[in-house]
Amino acid sequence: MPVDPQFPRAAAPVLQASALAKSFKTPHGSLPVLDGVSLDIEAGRFVSIRGASGAGKTTLLQILGGLDRADSGELHWNGERVSGRGNAFLANRRARWLGYVFQAYHLVPELTALENVALAGRIAGRPRRETNTDASALLERVGLSGRMTHLPGQLSGGECQRVALARALVNHPRLILADEPTGNLDEHTGEEIMALLLELTKAENVALILVTHNIAFANLASQTLVLRHGKLHDETNGDNPENRSV
């Protein structure tokens, strides 16, 4: 169930980015990281982004998620222009509309699994009871029904990432941004988490942007992009990336 009825749910792409550019100042001058990146994500789509370390994948994901600002370019979420808007506006939209999954889980160590998931709902301003119900249901779906009152320190890496998945989904977002969600996990657990992530996003018709080094996981996406020299190249179906910047 959508959490914010006033939010447009029209057929507009859940995310539209055009000509995003970003550079960082260094002692040796300006270091361009993104150079005119454009991207459209439709509802329920799964897009993967690969790239060498330091290519700017995380920076791109943070700009797409409103955690950082591009130097130039336009960003729309669900048809609504968000570039140039204030921090409070971005925070409000992020809370209700986006879900994040990080490589290092980023759970609050003092909160139980249930509280960590429910915290996202509370930040989005949802009623306690409703948030708790959704959080419990999601923890059950990720197989942690018996671990709800456990603190992150009492959970394994895979379990922590399951909690993080549940947290990303608790506000019924339209888009999930996953930054190396299996990077800290062993191969088997990583596969489990990936399968769970895909299952949940598919079931909820949530679009997914996955940043990963894992080619196998990247190739599961309907669109596979590679960030190279500040530009996105479409490598879907193994096409030659050299001439296909997006």
Binding site: L67, N87, A91, A104, H106, P109, L111, L114, R126
Partner: protein, 418 residues
């Protein structure tokens, strides 16, 4: 989740971060103790100083009444008509006259003391001063022209008790006798009561005699007294009423002077009040140092939570809410520290006599403040002032780390945290 509603999540999270489940809250514990000790020191010192001042004021009112009328040392006569005219004022509840003067006391054992005698009107005096409330032995009604009541310390020092005989002679008469080589006869009296107020100035030096005996001792005419004191319906009006009387006396040409109780030992009471303020300032510095130390610890605490600050931003937490999260931590520490500090202060004040005894400071107390025990009067204002001060200080030292956290970009926070 506990009781907080959605907008209260920063407070909920602040509580959890300070008091994490299944782990000893080291940061909160140490910080709270820091504030608590400062608050305890401040409250104990302020309450003790206030109590001394308040007790002195109480004793002054109890011994001189609310307003005292005198003729600059000369006897006033007839005091009965003065009392009657005073009672006509609607502010006045009771009036009584007395004679105060220096006497030499000789005990059965032949010991002498130069002390102050007060000749009182046994019938009217209890309506103005509650001296009878402090009678340790004997009754006020037992006193007559041949019997006296002594202060407890004086009686103890001279080994006098009920039924003991003493000799009294006014110091003025002795002086006159020495000048004129004239003989004099001391007045022989029997002790009929012992008074104990806990205030050394009274217990060491007081001899209560009747007004008639005093007139005889000091060679004053019948119907005279050296002072008349009144009890008012509202003692806070003492200064105004004294002013009104002074105005009346000057208009009618009477060479009398009215002095409110607040002018009695004013310099001493002002010194006590000043000492209280100075100690407040010194103790405030202790809390200030503790607060800044907590502020520094809080900053470290916030820096260690950089990743969580980024996470909260990513989840949609607004900068104002992140500011609130860390301000709340400062306020929680301040409130808990104040509550604990107040509890400790009340405990110390409750066991103050035992603590004084352990410190062996009883004699100093008596010498400096003239009380044989530490009086206790609570001033609500001191507690409120300390609470406000503590919370404002904690809020002040929390602002910097809280602002630092609130102004972090989520992306930078997560990147810096690694």
């Amino acid at each position: 989740m506990p009781i907080f509603n959605s907008s209260m999540w920063p407070i909920f999270l602040a509580c959890r971060q300070l008091f994490p489940p299944r782990r000893f809250p080291v940061f909160a514990f140490v910080s709270t103790l820091g504030v608590a000790f400062g608050v305890t020191a401040l409250l104990v010192v302020q309450t003790v100083m206030f109590s001394f001042g308040e007790e002195h004021r109480k004793r002054i009112r109890e011994s001189v009444g609310d307003v005292e009328i005198h003729a600059n040392g000369s006897p006033m006569s007839p005091v009965a008509s003065l009392e009657k005219s005073l009672l006509e004022h609607q502010e006045v509840l009771a009036a009584a006259s007395y004679i105060q003067g220096g006497v030499i006391l000789k005990s059965d054992d032949g010991e002498f003391r130069l002390i102050g005698a007060r000749g009182i009107d046994v019938r009217n005096e209890p309506h103005v001063t509650p001296l009878s409330n402090y009678l340790q032995r004997g009754k006020m009604e037992d006193m007559d022209d041949e019997r006296v009541i002594l202060g407890s310390r004086l009686a103890r020092e001279l080994r006098l008790g009920i039924g003991s005989q003493i000799l009294l002679v006014s110091s003025g008469r002795v002086s006159k006798a020495l000048d004129e080589a004239a003989p004099f006869l001391p007045k022989e009296l029997e002790v009929c009561g012992i008074i104990h107020t806990g205030f050394a100035d009274i217990d060491e030096r007081l001899v209560l005699i009747t007004l008639r005996t005093a007139r005889e001792l000091f060679s004053l005419p019948p119907g005279s007294a050296t002072r008349t004191h009144v009890k008012l319906k509202d003692h806070t009006q003492a200064a105004d009423f004294a002013k009104k009387l002074d105005h009346h006396f000057s208009e009618t040409g009477l060479s009398l002077k009215a002095t409110p109780w607040t002018d009695n030992r004013k310099a001493f009471l002002d010194a006590v009040a000043m000492e209280k303020e100075l100690l407040f300032f010194l103790m405030f510095i202790i809390i200030l140092v503790a607060s800044f130390s907590i502020g520094s610890t809080l900053f470290n605490h916030v820096v260690r939570r950089t990743r969580e600050i980024g996470l909260l931003g990513a989840l949609g937490g607004r900068p104002a809410q992140i500011l609130g999260l860390f301000l709340a931590q400062g306020l929680i520490i301040g409130s808990a520290g104040y509550a604990l500090g107040t509890g400790l202060a009340l405990l110390i004040l409750h066991f103050r006599q035992k603590i004084i005894a352990l410190m062996g400071a009883g004699e100093t107390l008596l010498e400096q403040y003239r009380f044989d025990s530490v009086p206790l009067h609570y001033d609500f204002h001191d507690f409120t002032k300390t609470a406000v001060l503590t919370l404002v200080l904690m809020l002040t030292v929390s602002i910097l780390p809280a602002l630092w956290a609130a102004r972090r970009k989520p992306s930078e926070a997560m990147r810096d945290a690694g």
